[in-house]
């Protein structure tokens, strides 16, 4: 039983991070119908920037909480700037171009960001400092760390804030209108370009937070970390129904749970034939199963025809 609970806890932590990243994919897809392939690299930039800022400030004797906050702020600002620039340079000129063209520029951006990061931070793994005291709590025989609690809480708060923004504010209404039909939204006086920029900026800020969380939880930052994380988060977004905010959150959490439970139990289930090294397979099997049996995703209600 305690293993089960432990895997649930691990899954929730992993899942809330996936959810944050998935939101970035889903917001952009909802509005532009574009898979922002480079989003995972923004997460990576967030993690590495936070790493450098925090270790730098700690070296100067700045107290840890202050350094952590500064790290998050600097990472968020940098990621927002990168997200904004990427949209302006690589995606905006290609609106209305053949559908695959922006996908290729996205891949190009992804390669540039990844290798740019490698130039700056090198090929090595960087040990990420502990941001919160290593405190542990017992929950039904399983342990949960303070860091894990904070991660889940912070992710939940951020997502609640985002939902409020989208559902309750004028800006959110403009975003929803643009997602529904950009041309009509434009006619109704919505500055679609501004909304698109804002979407990228918002998504990138979430990515920075997610980057910090990943690195804090796994104590590591690396130039290559964004790729597989982005892939998983995108899977989560599709799982929940891409273009749908609630779907991204549900999909993220679910994927986290599936992965950690799957990895925890696959050995028993297959009589030791498959081990936990198949963890990454679950994400994709689940994804394929969902898409085949419920192509609009778990939460998705409409499948907008986008040519």
């Amino acid at each position: 039983m305690d293993i089960f609970i432990q895997q649930i806890i691990n899954g929730l932590v992993l899942g809330s991070i996936y959810a944050l990243v998935a939101l970035g994919y889903t917001m952009v897809y909802g509005i532009l119908g574009l898979i922002n392939f480079a989003h995972g690299e923004v997460v990576m930039l967030g993690a590495l920037t936070a790493y450098s800022t925090i270790t730098g400030l700690l070296g100067l004797g700045v107290p840890l909480p202050l350094a952590a906050l500064a790290g998050l702020a600097v990472a968020a600002l940098l990621c927002m700037a990168v997200g904004y620039t990427v949209e302006r340079i690589a995606y905006r000129p290609l609106r209305g171009a053949p559908r695959l063209a922006p996908l290729i520029t996205a891949i190009g951006v992804s390669i540039v960001l990844q290798n740019g990061a490698m130039m700056v931070w090198g090929r090595n793994y960087h040990a990420f400092p502990n941001l919160v005291p290593e405190r542990q709590y017992d929950v039904f025989g399983a342990t949960i760390t303070l860091l894990q609690v904070l991660t889940v809480l912070l992710a939940a708060l951020t997502m609640a804030g985002l939902m409020l923004l989208v559902l309750r504010t004028k800006l959110g209404r403009a975003m929803r209108a643009t997602a529904e039909n950009p041309a009509i939204a434009q006619l109704m006086g919505v500055d679609v370009n501004r909304i698109v920029s804002l979407t990228f900026v918002l998504g990138s800020a979430l990515a920075a937070l997610a980057g910090l969380m990943v690195s804090a939880n796994y104590s590591i930052a690396h130039y290559y970390m964004g790729f597989i994380l982005g892939l998983k988060a995108f899977t989560a977004a599709v799982l929940g129904g891409i273009g749908n905010l609630a779907g991204a959150m549900v999909g993220g959490i679910l994927l986290g749970l599936i992965e950690s439970l799957g990895a925890g139990y696959i050995g028993d289930l297959t009589g030791g034939f498959f081990g936990s090294n198949y963890q990454d397979v679950f994400a994709f099997f689940v994804l394929i199963a969902v898409l085949v049996f419920r192509p609009s995703g778990l939460v998705g209600e409409k499948v907008a025809e986008r040519a």
Partner: protein, 369 residues
């Protein structure tokens, strides 16, 4: 191969005479292709590394043409294409290496690899082909990753793939008893292994070009393009879209399977690392960058994208030494960075690809799509 440039052949009246200058161009191209190993190795003095790159470029031409059937003709976005390459490669590796002690001949394995890859294509396609474009892309991506993860982990409890270490000591390619691992003497001319391999690859690649050209201007090819253009209308025209799409998947996959087998025999070593998502993406870039659906464009894309990163690799160190006196940044990341930038720039300035089909080009000039 006698047809005029691909896109024109089906559209112009069949009997249109081919102008003399086109024949001259073809003859020149043929001569260039035939002499390329000497040009690269001897005249330009670039050495074996570039000959290897050249051979890989030819392999990539096959891969890109296979993917072009799926993406360019039928309009199905496939992000897991490299899985079929992997299937072909591992098929060869397992049936012709000390790993299982099997040493089957290449002529038997390559077609079997193509068939198995084609079967994989059908298995993947059957449940997923009714999905919309982007979803299909993600499912295929997931499939590609699943194949790679299995290759990585199927070394325990039963050692099938030898896991991350990969399979080594693979038998070199040999045809009609002539091994490509030793110098080959043809008509008194001694061909070094790399050059001999080049000619074999080139021959097979020309076969692939021939097949795709023929398919493009056929009943099946038209059905693929019809599905790409408007699936509902295609159905209303009586096209069994499911089967025709599966056919595209299977055809594309089998080309990948052949290329994979050649890769394994050429490298003498395969490991899961060679079949990452980045490889799928790379082949897709070749197709899109060259000019989706346009066979000469796709070939150009494949050649450019397999040569350019290598060129950057050789340029990265000397250029830095010249500019700064020493190596400032890691040449490996610099070349990939430049490559990424090139992808972005080409798409920004030529969104239909470097060499789109003449019809499509006209299209882009007249209006946005």
């Amino acid at each position: 191969m006698a047809a005029a440039p691909a896109s024109a052949a089906g559209r112009a009246p069949v009997s249109a005479p081919i102008p003399a200058r086109v024949w001259v161009a073809y003859a020149g191209l043929a001569l260039l292709l035939a002499l390329l190993p000497w040009l690269v190795g001897g005249v330009l003095g670039l050495g074996n590394a570039w000959l290897r790159t050249l051979n890989f470029a030819v392999l990539y031409v096959m891969l890109a043409l296979g993917l072009n059937i799926v993406v360019g003709f039928a309009g199905l976005l496939d992000l897991g294409y490299i899985a079929f390459y992997a299937v072909g490669a591992y098929m060869y590796a397992l049936l012709a290496s000390p790993h299982f002690g099997l040493h089957l001949p290449a002529w038997a394995i390559l077609p079997a690899g193509a068939a198995l890859a084609g079967l994989f294509g059908v298995i993947l396609g059957a449940p997923t082909l009714r999905l919309r474009g982007d979803y299909l892309a993600i499912v295929t991506l997931g499939f590609g990753e699943i194949v790679r993860i299995f290759l990585n982990n199927l070394n325990a409890p039963v050692n099938i793939t030898n896991g991350p270490q990969g399979v080594s000591g693979i038998d070199p390619l040999a045809f009609f008893g002539v091994s490509l691992a030793k110098p080959v003497v043809v008509a008194g001319i001694t061909l070094l292994p790399l050059a001999a391999t080049y000619y074999v690859f080139l021959l097979l690649a020309l076969g692939v070009v021939f097949v795709t050209l023929r398919l493009e201007n056929s009943r099946i090819g038209r059905a693929w393009v019809a599905i790409r253009e408007d699936e509902v209308a295609a159905k209303a025209c009586g096209i069994d879209t499911r089967n025709i799409k599966l056919l595209a998947f299977a055809m594309g996959a089998s080309f990948g399977g052949v290329a994979g087998g050649l890769f394994a025999g050429f490298q003498a070593f395969v490991s899961p690392e060679s079949f990452s998502l980045m490889e799928s993406v790379m082949v897709l870039c070749m197709v899109v960058l060259g000019g989706m659906g346009h066979i000469p464009g796709v070939i150009l894309g494949a050649v450019l994208l397999s040569l350019l990163p290598e060129a950057f690799r050789y340029a990265a160190v000397p250029v830095q030494k010249y500019l700064f006196g020493h190596v400032v940044v890691d040449p490996e990341s610099l070349r990939m960075l430049l490559f990424g930038l090139a992808l972005i720039l080409v798409m920004l300035y030529r969104p239909a690809g470097l060499w789109p089909s003449p019809l499509r080009k006209r299209e882009l000039k007249r209006s946005g799509p």
